[in-house]
């Protein structure tokens, strides 16, 4: 948002967007928490006390140590250790990084597919619209999670465990992106249908612009705000989907854990009393998803023209 020109910065500061952001405490707090989590995840290699991927740093004798403040804890491991003796704080920082990467990546893929198909369906209409939206309907009625689980299962069965583990990040981005594109495509299509009746589109047609140019240069910019809203919520959904897939063993391997696979590996030890291995990453996951959802709610309120004028 901070651009080089002063005038644009001023314009941003005087905008309704910034005004309503300042006034909404929930939005400000969510944004600050999210930024803290994103930054600590991005700089995890600098911040984390240990490197969880480095086997040489792990000592199995340190396994299942509780967080500081409980009996038997070690101050070197502020949040305790997991069953392999990895420092939980470091694994969580790295895990958040993996989860965020997959979340963003999957939403970028969804947005590309969703915008393309949504524009095509909305603007061209007819048979293309019918076919694309039918596919979207069927996929949605199956629930995106189900589609993701099935695709994940098929991939895992065809690649084998080891191979799947190595390329898991890309696989998950692909699986979740493909499973959830209908959400964005539907939103785009709905706003394209509204936009295409407007005069500026007629004007562009009269001027003799080609269909692709009208679609991407004229209509697309006017549909961006709903895309923005739904993309925010979709990041939260993608992170949850990733965690669910990893929990089922169809996602990130334990050697390169995301928050979901941390929760999974900790769950095996919950009966022995080591609750922190599963519940602390779980809490981080919930906070991450919650702040993104709250920001999404706020964005929807701000960008909804009906509420804006009222």
């Amino acid at each position: 948002m901070t651009t080089a020109t002063v005038s644009r910065w001023d314009r941003f500061r005087e905008s309704f967007f910034w005004y309503s952001f300042k006034r909404d405490k929930v939005a400000v707090i969510s944004f600050v928490v999210l930024m803290l989590m994103v930054l600590s995840a991005v700089f995890a290699p600098l911040l984390a006390p240990a490197d969880p991927y480095d086997l040489a740093q792990i000592d199995i004798l340190n396994s299942e140590l509780p967080p500081v403040g409980l009996d038997g804890s070690d101050p070197a491991f502020p949040l305790g250790t997991d069953a392999q003796g990895r420092d939980l704080l470091s694994t969580i920082l790295y895990g958040t990084r993996v989860s965020l990467m997959i979340g963003f990546g999957a939403v970028v893929l969804q947005a590309v597919l969703g915008i393309l198909f949504g524009l095509l369906a909305g603007y061209l209409g007819g048979k293309i619209d019918a076919v694309l939206m039918r596919i979207a309907d069927v996929q949605l009625s199956f629930s995106t999670l189900m589609v993701a689980i099935i695709v994940g299962a098929v991939f895992k069965a065809s690649f084998g465990n080891l191979m799947f583990g190595e390329i898991a990040i890309y696989m998950l981005i692909f699986i979740i992106g493909v499973a959830e594109w209908p959400q964005i495509a539907r939103t785009v299509r709905a706003s394209v249908l509204a936009e295409k009746k407007k005069e500026y589109v007629d004007a562009a047609k009269v001027m003799g612009f080609g269909t692709p140019r009208i679609m991407f240069r004229h209509i697309l910019p006017n549909t961006l705000s709903p895309i923005f809203v739904i993309a925010t919520v979709q990041i939260a959904n993608a992170i949850i989907s990733e965690a669910a897939l990893s929990f089922l063993g169809l996602g990130m391997p334990e050697t390169q854990p995301s928050l979901g696979s941390l929760i999974k590996s900790g769950f095996d030890y919950i009966q022995s009393g080591s609750w922190w291995i599963t519940l602390i990453p779980g809490l981080v996951l919930v906070v991450l998803v919650l702040v993104i959802n709250l920001l999404g709610d706020w964005l929807r309120d701000v960008m909804n023209p009906r509420l804006y004028k009222g």
Partner: protein, 349 residues
């Protein structure tokens, strides 16, 4: 109406066709039945002969038609692991999942309707705000995490000693946050009642019901916030409408307006969305059943994946696909019946 019926049913058949095509492609691409049938000692020529005999060298379409023909007759092949027909294995696991879904649905219905209606009637009350806040948080908690927290709290139990024990309130707070645990968190228990066919029910014994509590609450927790929000939004919209204002002006009792006139029109969209959501719950049963080792379809499916039991995976896809298609078609048809304003021949209203 007839055109609508025909259109919906033909669409359902088309979707089922696509599902079967996908399922067959998975079977074709992943499984090599020969590997399961013959040992290492069989020579390449013999393998080729068997392939030819089994029709594995036939064109894709021919093989698909054979698969579809058998599927229609209820033959989806034998499970490698259980070495019996895959559909039989599914029939054995289906009742456990059904009981889970029924229990969770009942919880959702009996909790979401009163809470949603209350939040719509008194949007400013602190209790409404509390419920809406909880449901926002609830949407952000993945179902397996809810399940894990429930296990920690009510199965393992938590002893709290954060507050000073020597004062009365400290002790009270410690007791308040300490949970007993003891609820079963594993499987369905041994005390099952045989109903009919493959249906072993846990609904009629204390042990069976105790095993059902935590999985049902977990499964319900994922849908409950959605339903509360949906009912509240629909109800608030209905309360704004002219006929409700007229009823108020006429001087009808508030209870009569809210529960007789408004609720009736609120439930219509809720029922249709609800029907679809209950289909979607099947996806979440996979997660819930994994956490609680609940011997239902979801757990069976995951085990089939780890064992590369291709026929069982394919059979699961077909059965679950069929469940989805049937619920969605029924919901569409019911909606068309109950709400005459829906465009019968056009697209979804």
């Amino acid at each position: 109406m007839l055109a609508f019926l025909v259109q919906r049913i033909s669409q359902a058949v088309l979707v089922m066709f696509v599902i079967s095509l996908i399922a067959f492609a998975i079977q074709d691409g992943l499984g090599d039945p020969l590997q399961e049938m013959v040992g290492m000692s069989v020579s390449a020529e013999e393998r080729e002969a068997i392939r030819e005999e089994l029709g594995l060298n036939d064109p894709f379409l021919v093989q698909y038609l054979r698969f579809a023909g058998k599927a229609v007759q209820g033959d989806l092949g034998n499970s490698y692991f259980y070495s019996k027909p895959a559909l039989e294995v599914i029939a054995e696991h289906l009742p456990a999942t059904l009981e889970l879904v029924i229990g969770a649905s009942l919880m959702i219905i009996f909790l979401s309707v009163p809470i949603g209606v209350y939040a719509a009637i008194r949007p400013q009350a602190w209790l409404s705000k509390f419920f809406m806040g909880v449901s926002t948080v609830g949407i952000s908690i993945p179902v397996f995490l809810t399940a894990i927290v429930l296990i920690q709290l009510f199965s393992i139990g938590v002893t709290v000693s954060w507050f000073p024990d020597d004062t009365g309130w400290g002790q009270w707070l410690n007791d308040f946050f300490t949970t007993e645990g003891g609820l079963p968190s594993y499987g369905r228990g041994d005390d099952l009642v045989h109903l009919f066919g493959t249906w072993e029910s846990g609904l009629f014994t204390a042990e069976g019901l105790a095993h059902l509590i935590l999985p049902c609450v977990s499964l319900a927790s994922i849908m409950l916030p959605l339903f509360i929000r949906l009912i509240r939004a629909e109800m608030m919209e209905v309360l704004q409408s002219d006929y409700i204002r007229y009823a108020r002006a006429k001087g009808l009792a508030a209870g009569r307006i809210n529960f007789l006139h408004a609720l009736k029109n609120t439930m219509l969209p809720v029922i249709t969305v609800g029907g679809v959501q209950i289909g979607i719950m099947v996806a979440y049963t996979i997660l819930t059943e994994t956490v609680f080792q609940w011997p239902g379809l979801g757990l069976m499916f995951l085990e089939a994946i780890t064992r590369s039991d291709i026929p069982l995976i394919v059979a699961y896809l077909m059965v679950v696909g069929l469940i989805f298609v049937i619920t969605n078609t029924l919901v569409d048809l019911i909606y068309g019946l109950v709400n005459p304003t829906v465009k019968l021949t056009g697209k979804k209203a």
